[in-house]
């Protein structure tokens, strides 16, 4: 017979017995909050369809994640909001006129193939949203590079520009005689009054979000500064198009502040983050300015390439312990 048990048990755990008010879901929630300004701008410039597309992506991600966890007989991780973040980021990186089923497919691919196949949050080697975007870009190049519903009416009145191209496509084409340094263009780029993906157009909204993340200490300055700094310096030394245009165009800001800073797929140490950011910036500019390349924009590919290098960077940027003596 079991002896009589003493009243209620105390909890036994190993120190520390105190914890900061931090959790994975809170971090993800912060990222979602930080992305809201960019989403609002997207909806403002591209209409309600952008919102619908975003909702589709998020729903696709959530459903896929839930089903995958069920199939893998693992605990349900929908509550950590990481699927929402991935869906949101994916949507913000899609053209506003993409067919809805393609967006949904992107969400399924992001969660199913890029994340859960590797074991879920924390184990994916590549940023799921970016990998899904790359998947869509390669599979459906046409729809992924069509910007029909343009709200972009350049103050300078360039006829070609007002129709179907993004600033980066123009740069790639080498638009002769276009005045890249006019103040009105920079202002449009900064506000987001240009062609592009739903969430990447407004640098202002993105920077507000990034400031929030920095304030909440969700991200550190290393990757964004290294990324944007490298893009700026490269463009400066390359000459031609002003560096600021390169920084504000395309996915540079959203990539540097939201995609490259993804914890799981970026290095863990400060030095590693700097190397990572510089690498992203460099590869972005190489793709953008390569005279033979097909792609006008290189942010997603640069980040994916650097994701692949993350384990290597981690390996070579291990911190040196306090008091470590060389043997």
């Amino acid at each position: 017979m079991k002896p009589k048990d003493t009243s209620e048990h105390y909890i036994l755990s190993s120190s520390p017995h105190a914890h900061a008010d931090a959790s994975t879901s809170r971090i993800m929630l912060d990222v979602i909050i930080a992305l809201l300004p960019a989403l609002c701008c997207g909806v403002y410039f591209f209409g309600l369809r952008a919102l619908f597309l975003t909702g589709t992506c998020i729903a696709a991600c959530l459903v896929t994640e839930g089903l995958c966890r069920l199939a893998m007989k693992r605990n349900n991780t929908i509550g950590d909001f990481s699927a929402v973040v991935t869906g949101l980021l994916l949507a913000l990186n899609l053209p506003p006129d993409l067919p809805v089923w393609m967006a949904a497919l992107g969400g399924v691919f992001a969660m199913g193939v890029c994340k859960q196949l590797f074991g879920g949050l924390g184990y994916n080697p590549f940023n799921p949203a970016l990998a899904a975007r790359a998947f869509l870009l390669i599979s459906f190049t046409g729809p992924m590079t069509t910007w029909t519903k343009s709200a972009w009416t350049l103050s300078a009145g360039n006829v070609e520009a007002t129709t179907t191209a993004t600033p980066l496509a123009l740069i790639k084409k080498g638009a002769e005689g276009f005045d890249w340094s006019q103040a009105a263009l920079i202002k449009d780029l900064f506000i987001g009054n240009v062609n592009g993906c739903i969430g990447e157009v407004s640098a202002l909204a993105l920077l507000i979000g990034a400031a929030y993340l920095l304030w909440r200490k969700v991200i550190t300055w290393h990757i964004p500064v290294a990324f944007i700094g490298t893009v700026f310096l490269y463009a400066m030394f390359k000459g031609g198009v002003p560096p600021l245009v390169h920084v504000l165009s395309g996915g540079c800001v959203i990539g540097a502040c939201f995609m490259a800073t993804d914890y799981v797929t970026s290095p863990i140490t400060a030095n590693g983050k700097l190397i990572f950011g510089c690498g992203c910036g460099l590869i972005t500019m190489l793709i953008r300015t390569a005279p033979t390349g097909a792609y006008p924009e290189g942010v997603s590919f640069s980040i994916l390439i650097m994701n692949a290098l993350t384990p290597l960077i981690n390996r070579f940027t291990q911190p040196k312990p306090f008091g470590k003596v060389k043997k």
């Binding site: 909890i11 914890h19 994975t24 312990p321």
Partner: protein
Amino acid sequence: MKTVNSAFKFHGGVHPQYNKDLAASKPIEAMPLPQQLVISMSQHLGAPAKCLVKKGDAVVKGQLIGERNGFISVPVHAPVAGTVAAVEQRMGPAGGWADAVILDVAEDQSAAPAFLPPLDWKSASREDLLARVNDAGICGMGGAGFPSAVKLNPPPDKHCEYLILNGAECEPYLTSDYRTMLERADRIRAGVEIMRKILNGPAVRIAVEANKPDAIKALEKAFADIEGNVEIVVLPVLYPQGSEKHQIYATVKRIVPEGALPIAVGCVVENVGTVAAIADAVEKGIPLTERVTTVSGDGVVEPKNVLAPIGTRYADLVAFCGGEKDGVRKVISGGPMMGFNVPHLEIATTKTTSGLLFFTSAKVFQYTSNACINCGRCVRACPMQLNPAFICSAVESNDIAAAQKMDVMDCIECGACSFGCPAYRDITQNCRRAKASIRAAAAAAKAKAAAAAK
């Protein structure tokens, strides 16, 4: 004598909620003697003392009941007069079992105590003072319990340039050192002068965190007319400011090499409570048999700083503080960052018990671990500049060799990594596990080599 601000900031650290106001304003209060004491022979770091009494023996206050057993060991004395009810294995606060003397406290405490003869530190020789620190059973009262006599007797090729007094008390809730500095500053000063003599006149640095202005004032007053190179160093409020290696860096900007003791860089660090105990041991001949313990937390009726004999059961200690409230779910011996959970209150205080904390379910942090998201908070928080996330993953996949390569042995188990982990991972516990495993392997290899040599 002057007060300066610390100019050197070590990497990492965290800011837990300190909650010291619960007990900070409560003066040290001596508790009435309990009926029974449980005096462990393992009060300190190193080999447990050898028990000198047996069941039925009558002992008087201050009598030697456990003798030093090896180089890293300290003797144990009876805190009160009484009769030995038993000598048996008991669990200590850290979960280890050791021989303990169960002492029935005598009702009549009028018998003359068996204290050591008082010494005049000015005329006594260095060797006599050192022998006294040893005989009085003094060990570090901050937590680890390193024998003070060993600390104060550096090897001949090492010279102590700085004597650092650790008054940081960076653990949340604990206020025992704070109250000691406030109320016993004169004893600390006497201890400093004695230790200065033993260590051949090093410079003295008294390290106190900036959140204890009263204590700084009290120390300034007590040390106002002291001669020689003495400074109070005000440290910024940061956990783990009380860690030996980090305190040395924050006060004198020296870095203790891995695996070495502070004396390697000419420093000796001693907790303020220990310094006061040394003064009593020398000037009054009183062995270390009582200490101040902070009883606090939201699960205790009346938080207090209690002066209790060593061997007081936690149940008696909390009863003196009005008892525990309903719904206590966690009891911590020590501070919340590095203290030990205890399963019941039959466990007794030792020379290193700085606090006893009770937490109700509302305050208790219970968790389930999720996957590491590689956020790097632990890397930023680690004061030893390790990579806790990667070490934790290595240990979880049973790759102890990889953890060792990532210098897990340098880990001071401060808990800063686990504290901020958003995935609630058992990082500190995994580091501890790896260290235990590496130590066990090293001990096994040593035993094997010894057997082979035979």
